[in-house]
Amino acid sequence: MSQPNVSKPAVPGPVVSAGAARPGAAASARRDGWLRRLPLLPALVYVFLITQIPFALTVYYSFFSWNLLQPGSFRFAGLQNYAAILSEPSTRIAIANTVVLTLLAVAISVVIGVLVAMLLNRELFGKGVIRTLMIGPFLVMPTAAALIWKDTLLNPIFGLVDYVLSPIGLGHVDWVNRFPMATIVTIEVWRWTPFMMLIVLAGLQSQNLETLEAARVDGANAISMFRYITLPFIRPFVELGALLGSLFIVQTFDSIFMTTQGGPGQATTNIPFLLYLVAFQGFDVGRASAIGVFAVILTMIVASFALRTLFTIFHVEARR
């Protein structure tokens, strides 16, 4: 991993520069170190406490059997919760649903996002307005958007989609219940495409035009110019968008809660929704915690890639 531009060259404070030859220099250097650390500490301690205490408790609870509604049911269970979640089909279904939803939503929103970004990278009439309209889906409250999609657009009788598709023989289709996963993927793609578009567009606009002009002079066509010049250039931006998007979409909860409630059956139950069901419908703290530990492990795998990309981009910025 490359070193990001974490710091400007530190300006040597008078204490450090003058104290090198003096006795007590070590002490004053230590004092300087603490003075530097002081402004960082409140935020660091705050984030550490509020994220690590719950996480430690999740790990701890995952080794216990505890029903929240039964006082006194708290007892050590060893690895039983883990054995249970690994042997139950519901866990496998939730993992599969999470992977399918995340991969599809990210892949489709990245592809559409790149295409729209390339379109918006041109000179267009009313480009500012087009851009403003495009980011609307990302800003609308996800719970509100999910309701609008489910009720006013995809309802089999009163929905607008039904009205539009009736003439071509696709009337009265209960979209949400017949294609639950496709519905969730559609809503998430609609929401995240603007996000991808914004990141890729920023990348495209920082592209050096001279390279493209030189390629044009050398007789390169549009496709090879995209393939060999533009694509390599925007790649880190696409990667950044895809990885940040994955980390958000893997946690999808709002749209599932508002449209399908994880159903029909388990068709749209992903890991966050399964955990919600186990914790707040089943009140099984131990098992919910074991799922939580599992989710952390899965997320950290994706996150390690995301962080590497993020640091690479910061490095690129520093060189420029």
Binding site: L44, Q251, F257
Partner: protein
């Protein structure tokens, strides 16, 4: 991007401007349509909102907005505002000094600190839900807006620290050296040098806090019930299909979405930088 550059780019990419503009408008309207439909439905009467075929031409009415506002929605809206303002202020107050210690006079191992901050943001919300629920219950802050403020601050602080740091790195070093020659301490520097120059950074951070806090649903729905419930929770009441209240539903959805929509549109420049924690400008 200047007009000349845009033109040069257009010439380079080829194709007619009219064609691509038309395509651009079609795509934008397609994506924006659900948002537009939400607002249109909200401006109709109930029978118009659920009519077959859909009502396109109608005399707009604010009745449904009034009915939503005059009944039970305002407390939810106010809770969202308190949670957002409270956690945003905390993020700025805790985040700016931290960013200072990671950019201006960097601590040792600043990179590790940055790494730690951002890794906490990527922990799945689900993993901390159960312990946070139990902690909140035992501390008697279930259904209390304070619990949400504490949690939302944690969610946004890592993003805020990264983002503010990226803005602080842009301040020329000379300014600090000059201030130090004048004998300025940490607070003098923070208020005299940093604060006037970091306003766009504070705006970007506030915008990101607003988006993630105002729209947050997962913790809100599980940690609140009636007293501290926020705007998205109000919409849960519309899930059951009992009766068709499309106009009312749309009015509520529009009102709930409005603050973030407006702020995001006004501060488009800060949006992209904020969402990528300063990595992309």
């Amino acid at each position: 991007m200047s007009i000349a550059t845009a033109r040069r780019r257009g010439a380079l990419l080829g194709g007619s401007k009219s064609f691509w503009s038309l395509l651009g408008w079609v795509v934008a309207i397609l994506f924006f349509f659900p948002v537009l439909w939400m607002v249109l439905e909200a401006l109709k009467s109930e029978p118009q909102a659920a009519s077959i075929p859909p009502t396109i031409l109608f005399a707009p009415t604010l009745d449904e907005f009034q009915s939503v506002l005059s009944r039970d929605f305002p407390p939810f809206f106010i809770n969202s505002a308190i949670a957002t303002i409270g956690s945003t202020l905390l993020v700025l107050v805790l985040g700016l000094p931290a960013a200072y210690a990671l950019a201006i006079r960097p601590v040792k191992r600043a990179r590790d600190a940055l790494f730690f901050f951002i890794s906490t943001r990527f922990l799945p919300f689900a993993a901390s839900l159960v312990p946070l629920y139990i902690l909140a219950r035992d501390l008697h802050v279930l259904d209390n807006i304070l619990a949400l403020i504490v949690i939302y601050t944690t969610i946004n602080l890592p993003l805020g620290v990264w983002l503010l740091r990226s803005f602080l790195l842009e301040i020329p070093n000379d300014l600090f050296e000059a201030a130090r020659v004048d004998g300025a301490g940490f607070f003098d520097e923070l208020i005299g040098v940093v604060l006037p120059l970091v306003m766009p950074g504070l705006a970007a951070t506030s915008l990101i806090c607003l988006i993630f806090t105002w729209n947050e649903f997962f913790y809100a729905v599980n940690l609140t019930s009636s007293i501290a419930a926020t705007s998205p929770i109000f919409l849960v009441g519309f899930i059951s299909g009992r009766g068709l209240f499309y106009a009312k539903l749309s009015a509520a959805a529009t009102l709930a979405s409005l603050p973030v929509l407006l702020a995001g549109w006004i501060a488009q420049k800060q949006l992209i930088r904020g969402l990528t924690m300063g990595a992309v400008k």
